[in-house]
Amino acid sequence: MDAASNALPKPDVAQPLTMGPYALALQGLVTAVGRYRSQPIALRLLPGQTLALLGGNGAGKTTLLDTIAGFLRPLAGAVWLAGRDCTEEPPEKRRIGYLLQTDALFPHRTVAENLQFGRLAAENLDALLDRFDLRALALRRPGQLSGGERQRVALARALAGEPDLVLLDEPLSAIDPATRPALRDELARHLRDCRAPSIMVTHDPADALALGQLVGVMDAGELLQVGPAADVFKRPNRLRTARLLGVENIWPGIVNEHPDETLVRIGLSPDDANCFVDAARPHNGMPLLAGMRVRVCVRAANLIAAPCQQPPPAGYSRLPIRLLDAMPLSTAIQLRGRFGPNLDALAYAPPWQMRGWTLTPDERLALHLHAEDVHILQDDDAPDPAPPQRRPAR
């Protein structure tokens, strides 16, 4: 049961475009606003598919949605929607349901009037109110709604009227944690029921995994990676992607030796024979030759804390660490340890595993790590990029 099971094989963004079964296709789209310019962006979505778009502040996500919706003219490329090239169409012709980064409800109209604006005037209001459970709010003005209610109305407005495409710009940010899970579930239900493809921008990897069949990662105007959600989270294709996806542990390493055909061993510290991890092979077609400098990406959730002496199960590597601190989070206990020369490891342990296990600082522990959970990337990026200056001086 894989959340990405109904996902496409990763669309080959280079091959010439044929609309085929796709409901949305972006062909070498170069977006621009102010002094910002994106790289050419290619993307195809099937009907009903949801793409969750992650990326740093100022990556160009909103700009991309604005271009698809027709508010910005692309510098190059085309937008194909429901079988037609609509690059030159004005926004009101495109039949796109767009939830803007703020909810953008019309403050001078009631909820019902908001839902009857423009092309939605032809819809059956009663049916709409029922579908989104808004009957009680129909006569209120947006200023009289709570944040969560506002967002629900905005969502209804974006999804109503069977649009050809749904664009959602951070639909769940600015919602407090008490309201958030319910709203996320509701959103998931509506996106499932919706025939149109949708693109949802979010800063929260959890939202992306929960709602997107596909996940895309953008940074500084470049669509770094698009693919089935689980794939992208498991195998980010670049260091920037890994960072944006919130991979907690990124260590430098050197390809050492080859224990066998299916595994490759990566040394994390040149002089410490104990400090290595095994990774599964083949590895995304990367030629892993001995001596090559690589980056090892490991999610904290995949590191299993174990007593120091306990031997790792088969297929697992063992990292001996000195505990720095342990902190209970709401979903797990966060362990921070140091190993090798000066490398930090972050691990999440389920609270029940820690029951009755009193940890003291500087205690020696081992972290076990399965070869399948080790993701190796080429060391091509700058070693530790300073956060790029995103907003140009105005």
Binding site: F71, T102, L105, F106, P107, F117, G118
Partner: protein
Amino acid sequence: MRTQRGLMFWVFWLAACLVLAFITLPLLALVLHPSLGQLREAAMHVGVRDAFLVSLEGAALSTALSMLFGVPLAYLLARQQFRGKTAIETIVDLPLTVPHTIAGIALLLVFSRHGWLGPAAAHLGLSFWGTFAGVVLAMAYVGLPYAVNAARVGFEAVDPRLEKAARSLGAGPWATFTGVSLPLAWRGVMTGLTLCFARAIGEFAAVVLLAYYPMSAPVKIYELFLQAGLNQSVAASVLFLTIVLGLFCALRLLAYGRRVERVAQA
């Protein structure tokens, strides 16, 4: 914010009270000057009533015209970025600076019988010399900058994202403007309307050059001063002020009554 009753607070209130006294005292002196009988007399005077009517109608019409043509310009200035925008902004402010008599002469140069546009207008049966049309023209000229500037501020305060939302819901540019931008810029537009109206109704110098007759209120008040004396003319102006103030308050209510946020909320 907490109302800090510090030294600055009092100094500021002192300055504010001085300003208010400075504005109010002369008007108070004006209002207290005529007796009730004189006020009644002025109110019964047919010429005075006619002049008030001319002024009110002229100001209303010139304001309506200013809004009709000025609001689109205000919207463009608020929304579009283009070269020469600063030049256009300066042009719009020009009538503010010109001494009013000179503004009248400038209007004559263009709209008189032999002026640049006078003959063409005459072809259409329009004459601005000594006609109601002339009153309206002069009023519109001095009032336009207020209409444009205030409406522009109103449009600038409307969140462009609301317009985007309307467009993507299938509303064309026109439906978006009338259904979203204009209602949300209401306050600014109404402020512009009020200021333009106020400026138009008070104008004397520019109007009198084009049209002494039909007499508008300021002209009539001046004539009363010459013909009948200070008391009568002050009585008429107090009456006039009262009417205008009433209208002013009504406009203000219209402008500020509909307090809706113009920004999409997070």
